[in-house]
Amino acid sequence: MTTQVISFRDPGRSLDLARLRKISSEIREDILMMLSEAGSGHPGGSLSAVEVVVSLFFVKMRHDPSDPLWPDRDRFLLSKGHAAPLLYAVLSKCGYFPHEELKTLRKIGSRLQGHPDPTKLPGVEIPGGPEGIGLSEGIGMALSSRLDKRSSRIYVMMGDGEMDEGEVWEAAMCASKFRLENLTAIIDRNGVQQDGITEQIMPIEPLAAKWRAFNWNVLEVDGYDFSSILAALEKAEKAKNRPTVIVAHTTKGKGVDFMEWQSEYHGKVPEKAVVQKALEQIKRG
C-alpha cells in the first residue's frame, strides 16, 4: 500500500466537519491499534487531544509531508511527548511515513520511539519525554522565525499536568517579554495526570487567569468542537504583540467510555480483548 502524500502548503482548505470527524475517529482507532501492538504507552492523553491536533494538521497549519523541513512551514511541537501515538497517527495520515509503520511503535529499531525523536522521524519537531520543555523550544523557534522574517507560526501543545513544571512559567514570562505573536500554546486540559485528578495532585486553577497575569492572550474552547477550535486558532493568528494560549477543555481517554477520566489509563494499555471493545465503541461513534 502506498501512502497518499498531500501538500498542506496552501491555507484556506475548506472546513468539512464530516471529514474531520471521520479522520478523528480513524486516528483514535490507529492510537489504540498501535498501543495494543506495542503493549505499553499512554492512551489517555493521546485520545484526549485528537480533535485539536487534527484541526492543526488538516486545516490550520501550512506544512508539506513531501518536504518535512520546508523552511516556511508552521510547526507543531508536542511538549506532552507521552502523547506520541497521537502525533504519529496524525503524521502518518498526512503522509509523512507509511501507515504500516505505526505497528513498530516502541519496538527496537523503530523510528517511532516511545517519546518522539526528531532525529529519527520526519514531521517530529522536538524531542519529547520530560515535561515542561516544549514551550521554551517554541520560543526559540518563534524568535528564529521572526529574525528570519518568515511567516511561520509555532504551535506548542502542553498537557495540563505539565503546568506543574517550573520551566513552563519561566517560558510564559519569556514569551511575553519578546512579544511573540507568532507563538500559540495549547493546553490539553483533560483534568487527569498520572497519579490522579490534577486538582488533587497539584491544583492549577485558575488556569486562564494565571496565563492572563503573564500577559498572554487567553482563549478557552471545547476541545471537541472543530468550529470553536478553528475560530480560536484564527483569533490567535490575529493577536498582536503577545502570544496566545488556548485552553482546550477535553476529556482524558475521550471516545472510550471506560477509559474516560481514568488516571489508570494515563500510562497503561488495556488487554487485547478490551482494546477490541474500545475499537468497536470508536467505530460506532
Binding site: 524531542p127 523557534m141 519569556c174
Partner: protein, 309 residues
Amino acid sequence: MAAMRDALGEVLVSLGARDPKLVVVGADTTGSLKLSAFGTKYPDRFFNVGIAEQNMIGVSAGLALAGKTVIAGTYAVFMPGRAVDQIRNTIAYCKLNVKLIASHGGVSVGPDGGSHQALEDVATMRVIPNMRVIVPSDAISTKKLISAACSSPGPYYIRIARPSSEVIYSEESELSIGKTEVLRDGSDVAIVSNGLLTSRALKAAETLKSQGVSAAVLDSHTVKPLDIETLVRFSRSVCGIVTAEEHNVIGGLGSAVAESLSESRPTRIRRVGVRDVFGESGETEELMAKYGVTERDISEAAMKLVKER
C-alpha cells in the same frame, strides 16, 4: 594577565560578523560574561531570558532546531547545574548546534563561596553522549577554541574561570579541539592539566627541573574527546602522570585520563584537584592553596611519582 571572559566577549563579536546565524542567549549574567558586548553589536540576535536557566536551554534548543548557531552562557553552577535535564534531553539527545559556555568554574571564583564554585560540571557534562567538553587554559586559547567549536556542528560545553590568568599561548598558536598541546617536553613525568592549572603546571615543571626532574606539560584543554594517543605516547617514556585541574578529582580530567590509560596502557597516575569537598569564601589564591590546586601540589605529586619509581 588576561581574562577569559574578556576573550569570550571579543571572540563572539568577531564571530557574529562572520556568521549571521550566530545568536547568543544569556540569563542575567551577560554583563559578567561579557556576552553583552555581542548584544550591543547585534541586538536582534541577543536574548536575555532572565534568571531562568532551564528556559534558557530550551530556548537555545528551539533556536538551534530552527537552524541557528547558538551560544548559551552563564555561571557553571547554574548551567549545567540548574539545567542538566534540558541539556541532556534536547541539546545532547538531538546533537543540537548549541555551545554552552560556563564561567566561574572551580574554587578560584573566590569570595562568592562554595555555592558559586562549580566543581562537578565537567563530570556531569562528560558523561552525556554527544557532548564534547573543553576547558581552555588561557584567554587566547579560549578565543581559539570557542571559534573552532562554533565552526564545528553540534553541542559543546566550554568551561572558563573567573579570575584573569597568565597568557600561555600567542595569537599565532594553532590549537585544535581534541588535540593535546605539548607545552613542554620531559622524560621523567608528564603533567596533564587544563584551565588555570596549566600555567601552574608550567611553573611546577621549572621547579622540578631545579630539583633534577624532567617534567613534560600537556594542555589537555579537550576533556572529551580525550587525546588518548598523546597520553599513550608520553606514558611510554615517563614514570607516571600527574593530572591537574580545578575540579573534583572524581569525574573530571583526572578520571578521564585514568579511565583511558588503564584500558590502553596502565600508568601510575596522581590526580591534583579538589578532594570531593565543596569550596568556601576567600581570595582566589588562598582557596587554591587550601583546596590543593597550586603549583606546589603539582610538583609534590610529580616528586612522589619519581621517588616511587
